[in-house]
């Protein structure tokens, strides 16, 4: 049992940190520009595919640096030439733009790389078990993913809280007009933030690609859960997104590990009643409903505390 708890915690934290890499960009972009970027998970997918392609050409380590830069550049271009123009037409236009973009990116990716999963392998340097705990190996690559995610979190926190750049970004979040009057180019701040947010998603893609599956539906598979994370954490709150990512990561992993069902809690139904819809519900285990647990959390949070864990704004 202890073994299961330790391993599940490790797996859950890892998945949570990956979610955080993605949601951090999404939540900052949202609080700054009020844009719920539907294409954010697509940038994650682009990161994975660029990572795969660059790994083939120049090796994994250069790809780890280049692919996020490339995705960031695309993100900046989207902000500069897309979102900035639609901004004057209101949020609905912006939302629709990112919505369309998500589909366009998916189609383009499947046109170039096909619809089947790519053979994106863990680099040989990291392809060994890092340590063995209760006779279960923990792959070095997963440890590497964890290290990258934690590093990014720390760097992001320091930049936002301790530097002048962070000060301007935070100010632009709440008082964009005042920041503009003080002589800062708010438009450029937005563009850079969008670029950095996309680059972070791209980085998540590069490191998640070999561990998970790199294929053209990976954005659609991860997209919805990102919204759960940022709503749960509180729209626009970085610490909120961090906690929410970890919670969702752990909840999903532990839910899989649990076998409990209504039948095991209250005893089986009277067999004389015969099979019915109720017997299905009665016997379903927590593990089976694991994939929907995060969405259940989303609904609960919206009912009980609409601003989320650490959110401040009501919108």
């Amino acid at each position: 049992m202890l073994e299961l708890i330790v391993i599940s915690t490790l797996n859950g934290v890892l998945f949570g940190m990956l979610l955080f890499l993605l949601s951090s960009g999404l939540t900052v972009i949202f609080s700054m520009m009020g844009v719920l970027n539907f294409a954010h998970a697509s940038f994650y997918m682009l990161g994975a595919f660029f990572g795969f392609q660059l790994t083939k050409w120049v090796g994994f380590w250069p790809a780890l640096l280049l692919a996020p830069l490339l995705v960031g550049a695309i993100g900046m271009a989207v902000e500069r030439y897309g979102l900035r123009n639609t901004h004057k037409h209101g949020h609905v236009a912006e939302l629709l733009l990112t919505f369309g973009l998500a589909f366009a990116i998916e189609e383009i990716v499947s046109m170039i790389w096909g619809k089947t999963p790519l053979d994106y392998r863990v680099p040989a340097l990291l392809d060994f078990p890092a340590f063995t705990i209760f006779s279960t190996n923990y792959p070095a690559y997963k440890l590497f993913m964890l290290a990258v995610s934690v590093t990014i979190f720390v760097v992001l926190l320091i930049v936002l809280k301790r530097t002048r750049v962070g000060l301007i970004v935070q100010a632009a979040l709440t008082h964009p007009h005042m920041v503009g009057h003080l002589g800062h180019n708010v438009g450029r701040v937005f563009m850079v933030v969008f670029g950095v947010g996309s680059a972070l998603a791209g980085l998540a893609g590069v490191i998640a690609g070999p561990a998970l599956v790199t294929q053209s539906d990976m954005a659609a598979a991860l997209g919805p859960i990102l919204f759960v994370v940022i709503v749960f954490g509180g729209l626009g709150s970085l610490p909120g997104a961090f906690i929410a990512s970890l919670v969702i990561g752990l909840v999903q992993t532990f839910a899989v590990a649990l076998n409990g069902s209504l039948a095991s809690a209250f005893g089986p139904l009277d067999p004389a009643a015969g099979p019915s819809v109720l017997t299905d519900i009665w016997n379903v285990t927590i593990a089976q409903v694991a994939p929907i647990v995060p969405y259940l959390l989303l609904v609960l949070v919206l009912i009980v505390r609409p601003v989320g864990l650490m959110g401040t704004r009501e919108s």
């Binding site: 049992m1 073994e3 299961l4 391993i7 599940s8 797996n11 859950g12 998945f15 499947s110 619809k115 089947t116 999963p117 078990p129 063995t132 006779s135 279960t136 190996n137 923990y138 792959p139 997963k142 561990a211 998970l212 599956v213 294929q215 053209s216 539906d217 990976m218 598979a221 999903q252 992993t253 899989v256 590990a257 076998n259 593990a287 089976q288 994939p291």
Partner: protein
């Protein structure tokens, strides 16, 4: 005038299309070509295209060329029906599908209804891999023919083999959460209880179909259960990623699988280092020892650059030809009648039978294990250096099961 020209330019190619359809026999291949099932769907498509080329090279069927028309169903039953209608509109009278019994059941129902409503335009459904037993039992249809052994036949063979291995004490079941996965788990429970009452089922997992990208939480659970053997009907990325996660975690158990040989499976098994501890059930395999099947495998690999996962697809296309020639027609109604009770020499040797009662094809079944190759086993998989090795063979009479099918005949 311009509108008229436009209309003509649009319609003319369609007419040409219709004229062409008269000559070629179109087989609609409705399977996943995107998403989690795409890796096996693409492999299947290449297999059928190879088989069509082979038939056409030998003069086609009754002098008519065979064409495989692919339709992507995304492993989704609703999408499959849309694609099936599209296929029929494009002149397809024969549909073949395999991946996902959820899709298979929907197609079987669709074809049955379509044929009732459109007499004279019947469509046949050739099933090469959807193995939910209900498709040839309570939900059987005259218009459906299945070349793969149904799940209960496979589980019967598997448990017959497992019952003689005393080291199996704790078994873990992990399956996909839909009709097929549920039938695997219930058959396994029932048959293990009957044949080896001392075996303990230490886990019984159902997970979402083709949606999991990281199986490590499940592997941790298997490990914690203390299981020595795992039974799984997983296919597509669900078996490849399951084995990959097991390799990463260093899980050492025996794997009794239906489809470990699919795309990505062999690579993951090699990574686990489990030499001859992963078993699969097939109607034929590369190192079966049958000389003509092995020659066939060699030619197939040289051209398609893929292992022949589906010897049953070879049987299906060859029997289609045989039935059409027997009926001297490619009319689906006559082909269906000719297929009933058709006896046929299968690719890997031995006689198979398309039983009239339920349209299930019965054939020899092989259990093979994956590991280091012996001298007389030339074929490895996915360049791992390891390959499939014969463990046990079940002949056709022993691989037959009874049916509850009450078929409505036209």
């Amino acid at each position: 005038m311009r509108k008229l020209t436009l209309a003509i330019t649009l319609i003319l190619p369609m007419l040409g299309h219709a004229a062409q359809a008269e000559d070629t026999i179109k087989i609609g291949y409705i399977d996943p070509l995107s998403g989690g099932g795409a890796s096996v769907g693409e492999g299947g498509l290449k297999t059928f295209q190879y088989l069509a080329d082979e038939l056409n090279g030998k003069g086609g069927i009754l002098g008519r060329k065979v064409e495989i028309v692919p339709f992507d169903n995304k492993t989704n039953p609703q999408e499959s029906l849309v694609q099936a209608q599209k296929a029929i509109d494009a002149g397809v009278r024969f549909i073949t599908q395999g991946n996902g019994s959820s899709v298979g059941l929907a197609l079987e129902d669709f074809v049955t209804k379509h044929n009732t409503r459109n007499p004279g335009k019947e469509v046949l459904y050739f099933n090469y891999a959807a193995v939910d037993p209900s498709m040839t039992n309570e939900k059987c249809s005259y218009w459906h023919f299945r070349w793969d052994a149904s799940s209960d036949i496979k589980m019967e063979a598997l448990t017959n083999y497992m019952k003689d291995i005393p080291s199996i004490k704790k078994v873990y079941l992990i399956n996909q959460d839909y009709s097929f996965g549920q039938s695997v788990r219930s058959d396994a429970r029932k048959m293990l209880a009957a044949k080896r009452a001392d075996v303990q089922i230490v886990g019984d997992e159902l997970h979402p179909l083709l949606k999991i990208t990281d199986f490590s939480p499940y592997i941790a659970k298997i490990k914690a259960s203390g299981a020595d053997s795992v039974i799984t009907g997983n296919w597509g990325q669900d078996i490849a990623l399951l084995l990959k996660a097991a390799a990463d975690a260093g899980l050492k158990v025996n794997w009794y699988t239906y489809y470990a040989g699919g795309a990505g499976g062999p690579t993951a098994i090699k990574q686990t280092g489990l030499d001859h501890q992963v078993f699969q059930l097939t109607e034929g395999f590369a190192n079966s020892g049958n000389p003509s099947a092995m020659d066939y495998e060699k030619a197939f690999r040289a051209k398609v650059n893929l292992s022949l996962w589906y010897p049953r697809a070879v049987n299906e296309m060859r029997m289609f030809k045989a039935a059409a020639e027997k009926a001297n027609s490619v009319d689906p109604v006559k082909v269906a009648a000719a297929l009933e009770d058709l006896k046929f020499e299968v690719l890997d040797g031995g006689t198979g039978l398309m039983r009239k009662d339920d349209h299930q094809f019965f054939q020899p079944i092989y259990i093979s294990s994956f590991g280091k190759l012996a001298a007389n086993e030339p074929f490895d998989e996915e360049n791992t250096g390891w390959g499939w090795h014969l463990v046990s063979k079940v002949d056709t009479p022993q691989a037959m099961v009874s049916t509850t099918c009450k078929m409505t005949r036209p």
